[in-house]
């Protein structure tokens, strides 16, 4: 066994042993423990746990890779996935905490005084969360396939098994403490290689500053200027101005991710566990601090990875690398099938250009960039091993949090809340675990042919949450008169429009071959990509809800009083069941 493998096994198994130990130590004993960790979590701890929960395979493995190839266009992920916290802190978290319930559908059913509203919310939540997990599964598959040196599909099966053992064992309480550990692992794993590479390329150890610095080769040229030059010479779009599908698409994309963030149940659920309304506001801030640590480093990782990749393949114009002399990381990734080379002009050298006819790097899966990055930059083996552990931590923590959200919405909201109210606690927990198992099987199956790169798939999930849950919650708090009928109509219209648009381009439930319009730019409405359509869906949701409200009349007086009550922090108690 070579040194790299040994280190990777130590890092991955060591960190996993730690998570399992913590999960076992803090395992859930009761239903309330299973869902909300007993409420005794400080804003700082909660912020860290939210950070780990939030930063998934999409953030860790996929995002910087997408930025590397999209350049400026990748900004939608950076702004979209952080700006949502502003909305959460101001528009949702404090009021939902004050109301004091366990789950998002519970809040919706109280506020909109109807079981229909609760069922609709559960359905929206399941669709969004499942889509999200497909994205995670892609990330898990990539990480395991590289780490165990197997095909992507086998990596995915192994990942499914690990996620199952992990998520079914613990509940929220186990997950909260484990996630704090996972946050630490993933942030170290992400920033250490970035610091090394930034130091190597620019001499500045802080990646956020390194990205704006001059190259350390003595030329005095800024890194970003040089990168722009290199990529445009090969026919690619200029890195710092490459506008992804036009301003309108970028606008809608960012908006969709922002309001989707504020509408995703597994994130909102976290704010039910803080001790007070005051803590709910500051938790959002702490969460963003921990998230920003990674998100402000990501653009540097992306740009530098692209820079190193280009430089490795073509160190100087015209001096392309011989395929026979390709480095070890190249061979390793070829084994996974995620990196493919085809010698089109049979000169034995690697040509990587924008022109599809001449380009010989026929497949460079964006999701391998972050994991391959330290090896491309020739960093020490222990750093490469650390990144593998970090990527797995990110994917695992989010998958577990989402599975918990899905299982609680089915077992707690649907079965106990609506169908069989006299179910015992023990059966509720059992039902939750069965639901988790099914969710893993479904998302794993769909993960075999994911509708996009991990971050793109996750973006679709955000669009679905943005178009359904967020408007219903926001109107529930800010429009006192909003009635149940109107909100249900809004949610159905919003998610309906978004799903129709997404499925007609990406396939029904993402099954390949069922997309009747094809995933093509010319068929897009106003040039808005399916990933960005959640913003339009949200507008439809608001529009329909207010129109129906006009026709059917306002919510009853006692509901309006309830809204008045959760608008002020006074008298907040702990989260409680019915």
């Amino acid at each position: 066994m070579d040194e790299l493998k040994l280190y990777t096994y130590i890092a991955v198994f060591g960190s996993f042993a730690m998570y399992f130990a913590i999960a076992w130590w803090a395992r859930a004993g009761s239903t309330s423990d299973f869902y909300v960790a007993g409420g005794g979590v400080t804003p700082m701890q909660n912020g860290m746990a939210i950070g780990a929960d939030w930063m998934s395979a999409a953030s860790f493995i996929s995002m910087a890779g997408l930025i590397a190839f999209l350049g400026y266009g990748g900004s939608v992920f950076l702004m979209g996935w952080t700006g949502g916290y502003v909305l959460l802190a101001m528009l949702l978290a404090p009021y939902m905490r004050k109301h004091g319930k366990f789950t998002v559908p519970e809040f919706i059913s109280d506020r909109y005084y109807s079981k229909t509203a609760r069922i609709v919310a559960v359905v929206c939540l399941i669709i969004a969360s499942l889509t999200y997990i497909i994205g995670q599964m892609k990330g898990v598959g990539v990480a395991f396939s590289r780490f165990l040196e197997v095909e992507y599909d086998n990596g995915l099966y192994i990942g499914m098994a690990v996620v199952w053992v992990y998520a079914v064992l613990g509940g929220m309480k186990g997950i909260t403490y484990t996630q704090i550990a996972q946050y630490c692992v993933l942030i170290f794993a992400y920033t250490i290689p970035a610091i090394f590479i930034s130091l190597q390329l620019t001499g500045n150890p802080i990646p956020q500053l390194g990205l704006g610095s001059t190259l350390a080769d003595g030329s005095g040229v800024y890194l970003l200027d040089k990168l722009d030059m290199v990529v445009t010479e090969l026919g690619f779009k200029e890195y710092t101005t490459n506008n992804m599908g036009g301003s309108l698409n970028m606008f809608a994309y960012t908006m969709s991710l922002m309001i989707g963030t504020a509408g995703l149940p597994h994130v909102i659920m976290r704010f039910f566990t803080v001790p007070s309304v005051k803590a709910a506001r500051s938790s959002a801030g702490y969460a963003l601090v921990f998230i920003a640590l990674l998100y402000t480093v990501a653009p540097a990782v992306g740009a530098m990875a692209r820079f190193n990749l280009m430089n490795t393949i073509e160190p100087a114009a015209g001096q392309n690398m011989d395929y026979a002399e390709r480095p070890q990381w190249f061979k390793d990734w070829e084994k996974t099938g995620l990196l493919k080379f085809e010698d089109k002009n049979a000169d034995g050298k690697i040509q990587y250009v924008a022109d599809k006819e001449k380009n010989e790097m026929v497949k460079v899966d964006r999701d391998i960039m972050v994991l391959a990055n330290p090896a491309i930059a020739n960093l020490p083996n222990w750093v490469i091993a650390l990144v593998a552990a970090g990527g797995l931590a990110a994917a695992l923590s989010t998958a577990a949090g989402l599975l918990l959200a899905i299982s609680s919405s089915i077992s707690h909201d649907l079965m106990k809340g609506v169908l069989t109210p006299d179910m015992s606690e023990k059966n509720e927990l059992l039902a939750g675990r069965i639901v988790m198992t099914l969710a893993i099987l479904v998302s794993g199956y769909l993960g075999l042919n994911p509708p996009g790169f991990a971050a793109g798939t996750v973006a679709l999930a955000f669009g679905l949450a943005a178009s359904s849950i967020f408007p219903a919650l926001m109107m529930g708090i800010f429009a006192k008169k909003m009635s149940g009928t109107a909100a249900v109509a809004g949610m159905c219209a919003g998610i309906g429009v978004t799903m129709l648009y997404v499925f007609q381009h990406k396939g029904i439930m993402f099954i390949p071959g069922t997309s009747f319009l094809g995933d093509m730019g010319p068929n897009w409405f106003l040039g808005i990509s399916p990933n960005a359509f959640g913003a339009v869906g949200a507008l439809v949701n608001f529009g329909v809800a207010f129109a129906v409200l006009k026709v059917t009349g306002p919510a009853p007086a006692h509901i309006q009083e309830m809204v008045d009550n959760f608008r002020i922090p006074h008298g907040a108690g702990a989260a409680h069941d019915h």
Binding site: S75, L78, G212, L288, T296
Partner: protein
Amino acid sequence: MEGNTTYWQENLRLIFICLVIWFVVSFGFGILLVEPLNAIRLGGYKLGFWFAQQGSIYTFLGLIFWYSAQMNKLDKKYNVEES
């Protein structure tokens, strides 16, 4: 109850201010005005590019903590703190 209404209105005013800033730094500087801003440089960064990939995130952070602090003051002023 009268006090609660003004409390809510002051809260709405704060939210409005924050969201205007939130919108301007991200959608404004980062997307709609990115081209004119890119003419200005911040070290190796073009300014519009910097707002899109760095500046907006720092601003979001500042906004949340400022809002929390202001709301804590407001809670005290209207005596609606949690017991």
